[in-house]
């Protein structure tokens, strides 16, 4: 499987996800510089990594959304190439309108770095086919602006079209207000595009994909994509 990681000035989880991709797929991803509009054309997966692109100044992801490389990402998305935006990557995808809605400052205004529980809301995607329906997994979050908002029609569409992929929940899988770390609408932690080929999520699957780091619940996401694409 061929993958690429887009590197913006201020990206800082680019190496982390590259390590996971290399480990899972057996092939190192292309590290693609934001200023270059021409992505390799044999890509199966493009990852927009976490971090603070352009310092997260103005709005998280706003400046990165205009990078030359994002035009290439958009073209790839139109061709059906799988796109995965993690944390800052999710914010970039929303700012690029490749995904609907927006990510605002966390409800308590503080940066939060901790493991959270997520319920897998759909397995009908190449990203989560490897999980069991309604499986409860544990992944870290590390963000200041992960509070997902969308208008009512968007929310209904996401719900009706089965495009909500992860919801914050408690250890038992219950989706509750106290299990919502950042105030996200409907406890939404990750969503799909209409085409189901673009996934954005706030939690970091690459951070728990190595037993040495305390868990492997994130690994299945990368394995799922790889199995779906090869």
């Amino acid at each position: 499987m061929n993958s690429a990681v887009i590197v913006f000035p201020g990206s800082n989880c680019d190496r982390d996800v590259a390590v996971t991709l290399a480990d899972v797929t057996g092939r190192a991803p292309v590290m693609h510089w934001h200023g270059d509009p021409d992505l390799p054309d044999d890509l199966d997966l493009i990852v927009i990594p976490g971090g603070f692109s352009h310092g997260d100044y103005l709005r998280c992801g706003a400046m990165a959304a205009h990078a030359a490389a994002m035009a290439g990402v958009r073209r790839a998305a139109d061709r059906g190439v799988a796109i995965l935006g993690i944390c800052n990557g999710f914010q970039v995808l929303c700012e690029s309108h490749l995904l609907p809605g927006a990510l605002m400052r966390n409800r308590d205004l503080r940066f939060i770095c901790r493991d959270v529980h997520l319920r897998v809301e759909t397995t009908d995607t190449m990203f989560t086919a490897g999980y069991a329906p309604a499986q409860v997994i544990r992944l870290p979050i590390a963000h200041h602006d992960g509070n997902y908002v969308a208008d009512l029609p968007t929310q209904c569409a996401l719900e009706d079209e089965d495009r909500i992929v992860f919801r914050y929940c408690d250890a038992g899988g219950k989706v509750t207000e106290t299990a919502n770390p950042n105030g996200s609408l409907d406890n939404i932690a990750g969503i799909l595009s209409e085409s189901r080929t673009v996934l954005g999520l706030m939690p970091h699957p690459e951070r728990l994909a190595d037993p040495r780091l305390g868990g492997t619940d994130g690994r299945a996401l990368f394995v799922s994509v790889m199995e779906a694409l090869s």
């Binding site: 709005r59 700012e95 966390n106 208008d151």
Partner: protein, 78 residues
């Protein structure tokens, strides 16, 4: 030429910062704050000197970058 862009959250979008400010003011003993909302102002120093052309250009800047029209509205002040 100086210009100001005021970016505010659309009505109906919950504003965590505003809410926290109202709460904190209350905790500090300032009663009677019914609501608080926080917005941004971006002050631009432009080479333009034709206000009409500038306004159109700034409008473009807002739509492309300065405001996220999914959740925000903006107002240009010259």
């Amino acid at each position: 030429m100086k210009a100001r862009v005021h970016v505010t959250l659309k009505a109906g979008v919950l504003d965590p910062q505003g809410k926290a400010i109202a709460h904190a003011l209350h905790a500090l003993g300032f009663d009677g704050v019914r609501d608080a909302r926080q917005g941004k102002v971006i002050e631009l120093d432009l080479e333009d000197d034709d206000p009409e052309a500038a306004r159109a250009r700034i409008d473009d800047m807002c739509r492309q970058l300065l405001a996220n029209t999914v959740i925000e509205t903006y107002r240009i002040e010259l």
